[in-house]
Symmetry: C2
């Protein structure tokens, strides 16, 4: 087989993840997102389609920038209502044998002592198929509802996150040595006290003196995912992550980021391929290129402009409520918002962008590419992106959910298999951990990973 | 059918819940407690046996009183390692159709904004089969690992817990009105902004201004369980609980408590039967009374004395390490510990209690009765207890796990069904919420419940 293409589905337990309005498409089934069956069925589909994992975003707040409120967010179901992804993982694992589950959890709002237990439990119950997407959270609205006046300042959040990771490593790597849980009726020893240790953490932000509540699962620390795009976030990623996710609209933009990551890894003394790199792609597939383009044009008719601007507002802090949808963006740009707008419009600097253009752009594809075409065209584009952007794989996003992911698995996956880019069904043995599937090593953290230094 | 007997299984995601040493019994299977299959299989067993729910205890700490450390706790697997029960619930729900799941979560260590989302998600994913056992937590070791120097003082914990409940009610009852989530493609409205409200909570302990992250499941607030035994705890229970759990070794002791609860309910203007009452029983069943007694005697040979004293230390704060196991307890009693000892020894004041006697007493049955006998004897005893103690049902505890619960379902459940005390298999329609099954009303909180006043 050629170097395999790694695929995660990029999703969220919400009516609208990245495509405001598309839940109204006749083929959409996502109004049932609040049933367990929706997610176990999706998990089975993805496993059959050769996906490595289902990657679930999460934010502990409700977007309230657009119009200074939540009306457009509510009406459009824009990442609201938002279910707790952690509790769905074991049920999805029970419905599958190989698929991994990447779950977002914030180091800002969960106590490390309890979060370490939750991830260890998930690693046991999935037999090593869980990843943690480490985020520091970015919404003032979340901070206010979680007992803070406002967010912790950005760089300080990451300093605190570094210490948080240290606590997690101590709990997941250092508290139970290998062999600490003989559970042997003959000797009567369930946990060997000589191999189970209090972590004794006393730091700037956290004090955790005691023993981890539970022994780690097959992976120890779950596979670590990170998506920080800022300079400090990227530094955090090269220090901790095993897989990184970055969204960009051109392969060149993503390539600048992957090059930066590899340089950062070299600086830190980690191997250049110590981290798997992913970028996002929204795929619209049909039998022919023309049909796919027609399908995409149909999608655009379902876009919810206000919902898209609510999402845009949440991402950028820029409130475009009240702006004429057909006004050119240059007339609504202010000193405060022009850099946020430019991040989008600079991708096609020659055209005149209206507010509506921006919303449609956000609503289909978000900040990443839209690949629309026949299966062969989609596979060509994914291969081209992989080469030009220098990534190991993709977080595949669906505009119409879950239909676009189902279509991917029945139309694109077979084509990728023909090209030797995806494993044949049944060729991946069950029982591998997600770390082994994604990195080719494991099941525990690599010896040169920072977390490994907390082993005894 | 006679007034049905309500049964919950009382368990915990640990090697040893209440019976130190019994994991070494040849019929025990609990060394596999860290696999999901252990729990989904147990759930199916309980459902087949007519249990209303699986009630899962939890403590966010490791017992460290005995010998001033965790050695005996570790060796004996005494509520350690301890998995996260919340994440197992949807998988167990997917394996069953009717069984409820009561999960313990502490109001001391989880942010209400996030815990409300977790329980709402569980209520969606179980279709209304989740209960919340509200605890305030009692271990200094937990407090230290969760960023506090020590516990919040007892009565203050309950004042804070009252406000916590208010925040939960606002999030689960007040933020989304009925009909707030039309999810209607025709109108394009997923959430009706006029029916979704910020909760605007600003109190002594909590500030939660915003909208609940998700809409509530079929029950709204999950069924509320509580087990506070102190005077302030009992006051909290009559204010909030719909089901209460109390452990006592004699029906008379439990009757004093149920009478107290009913008086408290009357004082608060709630119906005397507004709260279902449960007490714990450990059941050892066999074909004949003699075989059951022989089985029980065999269990005693597996008791882990140090493990039992570690559990006793965790419950009472009394450290009996170093005491001669065969010394009469009166010689190890000090001013500080004699009331804790008396709580146990006063049940049989005429015999001389040794440290070993106490440990064996703790290890089989804990603080509740052990009912050992043929199916008819067990059923008689459960009926007698129900009458004399004035309870609605039992939290059934197993010494040998999961074997004793399996034996209960195959031997005692048929006998209870013959007596019309348990519903016949298949006679309970699927699709009922746990609130409906346990209280006969619902699916939402009763209108005279405090939580209902936070609806709009």
């Amino acid at each position: 087989m050629s170097r395999p293409l790694l695929l995660n589905a990029f999703d969220m337990m919400v009516p609208v993840h990245q495509s405001p309005g598309l839940w109204r498409h006749p083929e959409a089934g996502v109004a049932r997102f609040d049933t367990l069956e929706y997610w176990t069925s999706l998990a089975r589909t993805l496993e059959d389609g050769g996906f490595a994992s289902l990657f679930l975003a999460d934010i502990p707040g409700v977007y309230d920038v657009y119009g200074g409120g939540t009306e457009a967010t509510a009406r459009g179901g824009v990442q609201y209502p938002l279910l707790d992804p952690l509790v769905a993982v074991p049920a999805m694992a029970a419905a599958t044998e190989r698929l991994g589950f990447g779950v977002t959890a914030s180091v800002t709002y969960e106590a490390p002592y309890l979060l370490a237990r939750t991830f260890a439990t998930l690693d046991h119950f999935t037999r090593g198929r869980v990843a943690w997407n480490v985020v520091t959270s970015y919404q003032d609205s979340a901070a206010r509802n979680l007992g803070m006046d406002r967010q912790i300042p950005h760089d300080e959040r990451y300093d605190r996150a570094d210490e948080y990771m240290e606590v997690m490593y101590k709990l997941l790597e250092g508290s139970f040595e290998p062999g600490a849980v003989p559970a042997d009726p003959a000797t009567g020893v369930f946990v060997d006290p000589d191999l189970a240790h209090p972590v004794g953490h006393e730091g700037t932000w956290f004090s955790v003196p005691g023993h981890a509540l539970t022994h780690p699962g097959p992976q120890g620390t779950p596979l670590l995912f990170q998506a920080g795009a800022s300079k400090r976030g990227q530094q955090f990623a090269v220090d901790h992550a095993e897989a990184i996710f970055f969204i960009g609209n051109t392969p060149q933009l993503v390539r600048r980021w992957t090059d930066g990551v590899r340089a950062g890894l070299a600086e830190r003394g980690r191997a250049e391929d110590a981290v798997k790199t992913f970028t996002m792609a929204t795929v619209v597939v049909a039998e022919t290129d023309a049909e796919a383009q027609a399908r995409l044009a149909g999608y655009r008719r379902h876009v919810d402009i206000e919902g898209a601007l609510s999402l845009f507002g949440g991402w950028t802090g820029v409130d475009l409520a009240g702006a004429d949808p057909d006004a050119p963006l240059e007339y609504v740009a202010t000193d405060a918002n022009q850099s946020a707008l430019a991040a989008f419009t600079s991708l096609s600097p020659d055209r005149t962008w209206t507010v509506r253009d921006l919303a449609e752009f956000v609503a289909i594809g978000g900040r990443g590419p839209v690949i629309a075409g026949a299966p062969g065209t989609v596979a060509d584009e994914l291969e081209r992106w992989r080469e030009e952007a220098g990534v190991d794989g993709f977080n595949i996003s669906a505009a119409v959910r879950p239909a676009d992911l189902e279509r991917f698995t029945t139309m694109v996956s077979p084509e990728l298999r023909r090209r030797g880019l995806l494993p044949e069904p049944g060729s991946v043995p069950a029982g591998q951990t997600l770390r082994e599937v994604l990195t080719g090593a494991g099941p525990r953290l690599a010896d040169d990973h920072r977390g490994a230094s907390f082993r005894r």
